[in-house]
Symmetry: D2
Subunit: 485 residues, 4 copies
C-alpha cells in the first residue's frame, strides 16, 4: 500500500479486461502496439512520483493515509484549488501538452460524489456517503488510476431516458438483489478506461421519477464480467509508429472508448446512487464543476503549446515583426491567460460545501474559462496556421529527411530566417501538421465538447449567475430606485 | 488639512480657472448649468467619505498622514491592489456606472512617477523623487482632486515630436530659468481637468535625444496663468436638463477637455522630468500600467450595468427564456467577469518595484483585460440592443409620458411581460437609449481608446509576454529537446 | 395627376393629422422646428424628380399611367430588381447616407399585397386583389408618399394575440359594418407616418383561427379620425439646430412614431385582409422579403459613408499605412460590398410569382445580406472609432470653432497629417461623433432591428434554404450513395 | 489531337518523371498505392468529358480548335465567367467536394500570361505573347493537364530575392544561351505536378532591377531533366487504404509537392518572362486574380459539403430544432452563399482587358469572397463539430463495424433520432472525422493559405478599392462639400 510504482501500475492492467481496437480483441493492453502509448502516458504520473526532482509536486503526506498522490488531496479552500490548478498545469506540460487524466478525472468524480451522497443520505436516510468514503480510502491507499464514465449514448435527443424505444440507450439498473445491482447500457467517449484500475460511473443528466432506474452511480474494475471497451482509432499513435520525429504521438496519447455494460454486476458497497432520481441532476452538475476546473487548467497548457509553436514559427519564418502576426500571437496569449485567470478566480471565489467542507470551484469563473476555451480554440488554430504558412500541410514527410539525396535539397531549401536551422523549423512545422491532422479530430472535438458542450456551459452560466447586484445598479442608474447599489 | 469636505472641494474650484464651453467662457464651473454635473460627480467621493455607511470603504488611517483617502494609499502587495480594485469598482457602482476618476487617475500617475523618478535620480543624479514625494504629501494631506494630462495633440503621426512642422504639437519646454520652466503645447482628451485641484502632466511617448525638450513632467493648479481648458460638449448632461428620468446624465458625468498651455510657468519643485529623454518612454508606459488596472476595475461596472439592463429588459419583454437572448446575456457576463478575473490575476501576480517597494499590477493580465474590454464592448452593446428591441430608439420622449392624454396610451400600449410595469420598462429602455445616443460617443470612444488604443495594448502584450516556458514546451513536444519543461 | 411637385407634396401634409412631439401637439408638421427635417428629407425624392439632372433616374413612362415614379414600377425580372437596387442606392447617397423611404417602403408593401391578395381571392373567393390594384392606381397616379405600419406593440411575447390580457395589444377589428371596419390597437416604430399621404397597415405575424380579428390589412390617410402619431424625439435634428456643421441632421432625418388606432374606421375598398387568418403569415413574410431587399440596398450606402469617413480620417490622421488601420478599412469594404453582392444575387436569382408575374427578390440572398448587416454593423463602427481616435468624442463643439480666440488654438492644435486642413479633419470628426451620439440610437437600432431582428433572419434562412443539393453531396462524399451529385 | 481520353491521360504520365514519396522514389505514379488517388482524381475531368451525361458541361466546340475542354475557353465577358464558375462548381461536386484542378489552374495562368506578355511585348518589344499563344494552342489541341508553380521557398522573408544568402531561394536564371535558359531553385506547395503534362512557372512577387534574374516564367514537362518532385505525405489516401467507408480519400485526393529545379533547361519558345523585372509584379498579381476566382468557385462546394454534413447530423442526432444548432447551420449557409455571391458579382463586374479582350474577374469581389473563405472556414468547422458531438472523434473505427460481435453493440447503441439508421449516422460521422484528421491539415491550410494568404488579400483589397465615391459621400454628408454624390 501507499504510492504505486510505475511498474506495478503497468502490471496492474494485465487482468483480462475486454478491449477492442480496430475490430480486433486486445489481449494485453500494455503490449499493444498502439494502445501502449495510452499506458505509457498514464504511467507518467507514477514515474513523476518516483522521480526525485518532481516528487514534491506530486506527493504529499496525508494525515490518515501517509504519502499519497496530491491528486487525491481533498481541496478545503482556494489555496488548495490553486495548488490543484498548478498540479494539473505542470503535469500537462510534462506530458508534452497532453494532460495525464488518470487521477484527475477520478478525483473530480469522488469529490462530487462525497458532496452529493452526503446530501442524499441526509434527505433519504441512505448510506452512500460511507460507500464513497470507503472507496476513496481504497483508491488513495492503493494509489489507483481511475476512469469516469458519464455520457450515455442517448439515442433520440428529444426523448427522456424512459421514453426511448430501446430502454438501454441510457445505462440502467435491470435488476437488484441483496448483493448488488445489475446494469445494462453503454457510455460514450470514456477517457483512459482501458488503462484504469477502476471505472466510476455517473448519471449524465437530471432524471424524473419515471427515469429512476437510470439514476445510477457506482465503481467497478475494468475486468468486470460483461464490460467491453471499444477504443476509437488512435491516428496520432499510428502515425507516430513510422515517424521518428513525432514523440508526442508515441508517448503521450490517451484513448477514448465506448463502454458496453452487458448486464454487469455491481456489489452494493460500490454503489453510490441507485434510484434516487432527484439527485441525478445535482450529481450530473457537481462533477462537471470540478472537472471543468480541471479542463481549464490543462487547456492553459494547450494554449502554451500553441504560443510556443506560433512564436517559434514566426521567428523561424522571419515574420516576427509583422503587425498581423503579432495580432495572431496576442490572440494565443489571450486564449491561454484567460484560462489561467479563470482558474485563479474560480479558486479564490470557491464555494465551501457546508456538509463536507470541500472547496468547490466557483461555477461562474469555471464556466467562463471553459466556454471561452470551447468557442475560440479554432480561432487560435487559425492564427497558428496563418503564421506557419502552407508548409503546415505540404512539408515533406519525415522519411524524406532521412533519404540522403532528398535531405540535401530539403536542408537547402527549407531554411527560413537567416541563421536559423532548417531542421528545427521542419520539426516545429511537422508537429504543427500533426496538430491539424492525426491529432486534429481529437484536439478539435476535445476543445469544443469535452467536459460539456458549448451550450451546456451557456445554460449553466445563465442559470448560476447572480443578477441581483447588476439589476440594483440598473435600477439606480435609470432613476427607478434611489438606493445606492 | 486631512480629509476635505465635499463643500470645501466644491469651493476650491472657484479660483479663476479659464474654461470654455460651447464657445463661451465659463466663469464659475460650479454654477455652470452643464459642467456642474462634472463637479457633482467629482464631489461624490468626498460625500462618500463623509457618509458614515461608506466612510470605511474610502478612508484609512495612514501612519504618517492620519485619516486619508484610500485612493492615495500606496499599494505594497497583491492584496492592496485587490483592495484598490474593490475601491474603484464600488465607487463606480455608486456613480451609477460612471467612475469618479478624480483621485484614481492622479494616484496612478503619482505611483508611476515615484517609481520612475527614483530610477532617474539613481542614474542621472537628479532630485525628482524628492519633488514627487513632497507633491504626494501635499496631495494626500489636503485630500486634493487631480487630473492627469498625457496625450499630446500629435500632429502628423508619422513624425517624431522634433520633426513636426509646428514645434508645439507635443508639449515642450520653451524656456528654463532658476525658478522653473516655461512650457507650451496642448494636451488632448483630459478628463475632469476643470474640476481638479492639480493637473499632473506626463509625456505621451518615448523620446529620442533630439526630442529632449519634449521629455517633461510636472504638476500645476488649473488656474495657472496661460492654461486654458476647452471642454467637449456634454450631450448627456444637456439632454438630462429636460429629462427628469435621466439622473445619470444629470448627476454623474465627467468632462474631457483640450488643454492649452500658452507659455505656462512651472516652478522647479513641481517638475518631475525636464529633458531626461531616456525616461520619457518608461514613464509613458508605467503610468498606463497602473491606469489600465484602474480601467479594468471601473469597466467591470459598465459590464454590470449592461447585464442589469439586459437581464431586466429580457424579463420585462418576456423573452428571458429564448436561446439567443440567453446567449446575449452570457456574452455580457463574460465581458464583465473577464475584467474582474484580469484584475484579480493582475493583483496576485503583481510585480514589486525593487527601489520603491510599490506593487505594480501585472502587465500581461492588466493588458489582457483592457484589450478585451476594448475589442468586445460594441459586441456587448449589440447584445443589449438585440434584447431591447426597436424601442431602444423609438421610445417616445419622457415629456410624452408627462402629457396626460398621451400617457394614457403609452401606459396601455407599452406593457411587456404580463404583470410587469410599463413605466419601469420605459425607464430602462430610456436609459438604454441614452447609452446609445447622448452617452454613445463617450462610452464607445472611452471603451475603445481610453487608457490606450487597442493597438497599444496589442504591442504592449506582445512585448511584455515571457515566451520561454511556451517555447520550452514546444521544443519538448516536437522532439527537438528532451528536457521536460 | 401625374408626378407630384415637391411643393404640392409639402402642402399635402397640412391636413389636420394628429401628431405629438415631446409631449406637445404639432399643428403643422411642415412648420415644426424639428419634424420639418423629416418633411424636407421626404421631399427629396420629389425634388429629384423635378431636377433635370436626376429626373431620368427617378421617372419612367408607364404604359398605363404615363410619367411615374420608378419606385412604383412593378419588378418583372432580375434586371428590374437590379434597377430598383440602384434607385434605392443612389437615393440614399443623395440623402447623405439616409434613405428616403417615402416611396420605397410603400411599394414594397403594395407588391407583397398584390401577390398575397391574389392568392386569398383564389382560395377564398374574396375580392381583395381588386382593392389593392385600385389603391395602387391611386398611389401611382397621384405620386403619393406612403408609410407602412406592421409591428404591433405585442405585450407579452410569450402569448399569441388572442391570449393577451388586454385584447388591443395587437391591432384588431373591433367592429364591421356594410361600409367598412373599425380597428383598435397600436403599431410601433413606424417610419415617416407623419409625413406620408397614406399609411398601409399589415399584420405582424402568422395567426391562428382564434386570432382572426387580428388578421387585418388596409390603408388610410394619416388624418383619419382616431389615428394619433407620437413621434420619438429626434436628437439628431435637435442637435443640428445649434450646429451649423451638422447638415445631415438638419436636412435628412426621418421620424419613427408609435401610431395609436383609437377605433379608426376603414372603408371596405381600402381593406386588403379582414379575418383570413391563414394569410396573415404569408403576408407577414412576403412584405419583409421585398423590404429586406430595400434594406440591403440602402445599407450599402451607410457602408459607403463609413468607408468614406474611415479612409479620410486615416489619411487626415496620417495612419493610412498602418497594418491594423488597413484591416479596419478592409472590414468596412467587406461590409458594404457583401450588401451589394447580396442585392445582385437576390436580383439574378429572383423568383417570379406565377399568378402576378411579379419578381420577388431571392429569399436566401436577401436574408444573408440583411443578417450580415445586422450582425456586423457595430463591428464596423468599432473600426471607425479605432481610426478616428479619441477626438471622436472629445472634439470641441462647433461653437468653439466660431469663437475667434479659441479657434486660433483649435486650428493650430487640431492639425493632422502634414498638409491637411484642420477644419476638414474637425468636420469629418464632428460627423463621426454625431454617428455615435445624436444618431447613435437610431443607426444602431436600425441596423440591428429594422426590417426584422437578427433571429428573424436566422429562422427565415434556416427554413427557406434548400438542403437537397448539399445532402446529396454529403451522401456521395461519405460513400453512402454512389449517385454523383 | 482533340480531346484526350482518360486512358491516354493516365498513360501520358508514365514518362520517367522523378517523384519522391515518403523518402522513396516512385517509378510509376499511376501504379503507386498512394499517389494513384491523385491520378484518379485528375482523370475525373477526362472521364466526365467521355461521359454522355456530363459531356456538354465540359466540352465546347472552339472556332479554331474544334471540340475542346471548356476550361480552356477564353472568357470574354461576365457570362463566360459565370459559366466558368459553374464549371468549377459542378466539377467539385462530382469530385466529392474536391476540385479537380488539372485544367483550372493552368488556364488561370495562361489567361494571365496572355494579358501580361502582350503588355511586355508592347513596352519592351519582346515576343513572349507569341510564345504563350503557341503554348496555349498546344495545350488546348492536346487537351493537356497542367500544374502551376508560383510560390518560391523564400528563405528569409525580410530579404528580397537578390539579398538572400543562398541565391537559389527564389527560382532564378543561372545561365542563358541561344537555345534557352537554365534555371535553379525550388517551388513550394505545387498542386498535382506529378500528374500534370506541363508545369507552368510564374514569379511569386514583384521584383526590383537587382532581382532581374528572378523575373522568370516558362513551361516545361515534368520529366524534364533536373526536375524533382517531393510529394507531401497524403494521409487521407493512406487512411483510406484500410477504410472501406472512406471513398473520398481513396478516389479524390490531390497531391502537393516541393519541386526542385536542379539546373533545368528551358527552350526559348517556352519562356514567357526572362529578366523583365518590371512585369514580375503585374504577373504575380494577375494570376491570383483569375485563380482566386477559381478558388471561391470550388470553395462554395466545400461549403456545400459542410452544410450537407451539418444538416444531416443535426437531423440524425435529433437536434434539428435547437436554436443554437440552427445558428450553426445558418453560419454554414452564409459561408457558402457569400462565395457564390462573390463569384457572381466578380463576373458581372468583370474588367475586360483592352489589349486581349479577356474578361478579368473583378478584383474587389473576388478578394472579398476569398478573404471571407480564409477567415471564417474554421469557424464553420466549429459549427460542424458542435453539431456532430463527441463522436466526431470517438466513433469506433470502420473495422469495428466489420467485426460481427462488436457490430451488434454498435448498431444498438449508435442510433440517433428515432427511425434513423445507425450506419448512415456512423458513415456521416466517419467522414466528419476524416475532415478533422486525415484531411485536417490539408483543408485547413488550403482554406487559409491557398491562392494567397489572408494578409495578401487584405492588402490587395485595400489597394484596389476605389474610394472616390465613398469620400464624396462623406464630404457631402459632413457639410464640407455641397456637391451631391
Amino acid at each position: 500500500m501507499g504510492l504505486m510504482s510505475s511498474q506495478d501500475y503497468v502490471n496492474s492492467l494485465k487482468d483480462g479486461r475486454e478491449i477492442y481496437y480496430r475490430g480486433t480483441k486486445v489481449y494485453d493492453v500494455t503490449q499493444h502496439e498502439v494502445l501502449r502509448s495510452a499506458v505509457n502516458h498514464a504511467s507518467l504520473i507514477y514515474k513523476l512520483q518516483e522521480n526525485e526532482k518532481t516528487r514534491d509536486l506530486f506527493v504529499y503526506k496525508d494525515d490518515n493515509f501517509g504519502y499519497s498522490s496530491k491528486f487525491y488531496k481533498i481541496p478545503r479552500n482556494g489555496n488548495d484549488l490553486m495548488e490543484r490548478f498548478n498540479l494539473i498545469y505542470e503535469t500537462s506540460k510534462m506530458g508534452r501538452g497532453s494532460f495525464d487524466v488518470i487521477k484527475g478525472i477520478g478525483s473530480d468524480a469522488i469529490f462530487a460524489l462525497m458532496i452529493i451522497t452526503k446530501k442524499i443520505d441526509s434527505y433519504l436516510k441512505t448510506r452512500y456517503y460511507e460507500n464513497i468514503m470507503k472507496f476513496y480510502e481504497y483508491v488513495i491507499k492503493n494509489d489507483l488510476g481511475l476512469a469516469v464514465a458519464q455520457t450515455d449514448v442517448k439515442g433520440d435527443r428529444d426523448l427522456r431516458p424512459f421514453e426511448q424505444e430501446d430502454k438501454d440507450l441510457y445505462l440502467r439498473i435491470v435488476d437488484k438483489n441483496k448483493d448488488g445491482i445489475i446494469v445494462r447500457g453503454a457510455k460514450s467517449h470514456i477517457t483512459q478506461a482501458p488503462v484504469a484500475n477502476e471505472i466510476i460511473v455517473l448519471p449524465t443528466r437530471n432524471m424524473s421519477e419515471k427515469d429512476k432506474d437510470y439514476a445510477v452511480s457506482f465503481s467497478i474494475p475494468p475486468n468486470t464480467k460483461g464490460l467491453k471497451m471499444i477504443s476509437k482509432p488512435l491516428k496520432a499513435v499510428e502515425t507516430s509508429l513510422n515517424d521518428p520525429w513525432f514523440v508526442l504521438g508515441k508517448e503521450n496519447m490517451e484513448t477514448q472508448s465506448l463502454i458496453i455494460f452487458d448486464d454487469v454486476f455491481v456489489p452494493w458497497e460500490r454503489v453510490f446512487l441507485a434510484g434516487e432520481y432527484q439527485f441525478a441532476g445535482p450529481l450530473a452538475v457537481m462533477f462537471p464543476t470540478f472537472h471543468r476546473f480541471t479542463a481549464i487548467s490543462y487547456r492553459a497548457v494547450i494554449g502554451d503549446l500553441l504560443i510556443g509553436l506560433g512564436k517559434l514559427l514566426a521567428e523561424l519564418n522571419g515574420i516576427d515583426d509583422k503587425s498581423h502576426i503579432r495580432r495572431d500571437i496576442v490572440d494565443m496569449i489571450k486564449y491561454k491567460e484567460i484560462l489561467r485567470e479563470s482558474a485563479l478566480a474560480a479558486s479564490l471565489y470557491a464555494e465551501i460545501d457546508e456538509d463536507t467542507k470541500i472547496a468547490v470551484p466557483n461555477r461562474v469563473f469555471t464556466n467562463i474559462g471553459k466556454l471561452i476555451s470551447n468557442e475560440t480554440y479554432l480561432n487560435v488554430v487559425k492564427d497558428l496556421v496563418e503564421i506557419a504558412g502552407g508548409l503546415a500541410d505540404t512539408l515533406p514527410s519525415t522519411q524524406d529527411f532521412y533519404n540522403e539525396e532528398e535531405a540535401r535539397y530539403l536542408k537547402k531549401y527549407l531554411v527560413g530566417k537567416k541563421g536559423t536551422d532548417p531542421l528545427t523549423r521542419s520539426k516545429i512545422l511537422s508537429l504543427t501538421r500533426e496538430l491539424l491532422s492525426s491529432l486534429g479530430a481529437f484536439f478539435t472535438t476535445i476543445m469544443i465538447h469535452a467536459e460539456g458542450s458549448i451550450e451546456a456551459s451557456v445554460i449553466e452560466l445563465y442559470r448560476s449567475y447572480n443578477y441581483d447586484e447588476s439589476k440594483k445598479l440598473a435600477y439606480y442608474a435609470s432613476g427607478i430606485s434611489d438606493e445606492m447599489p
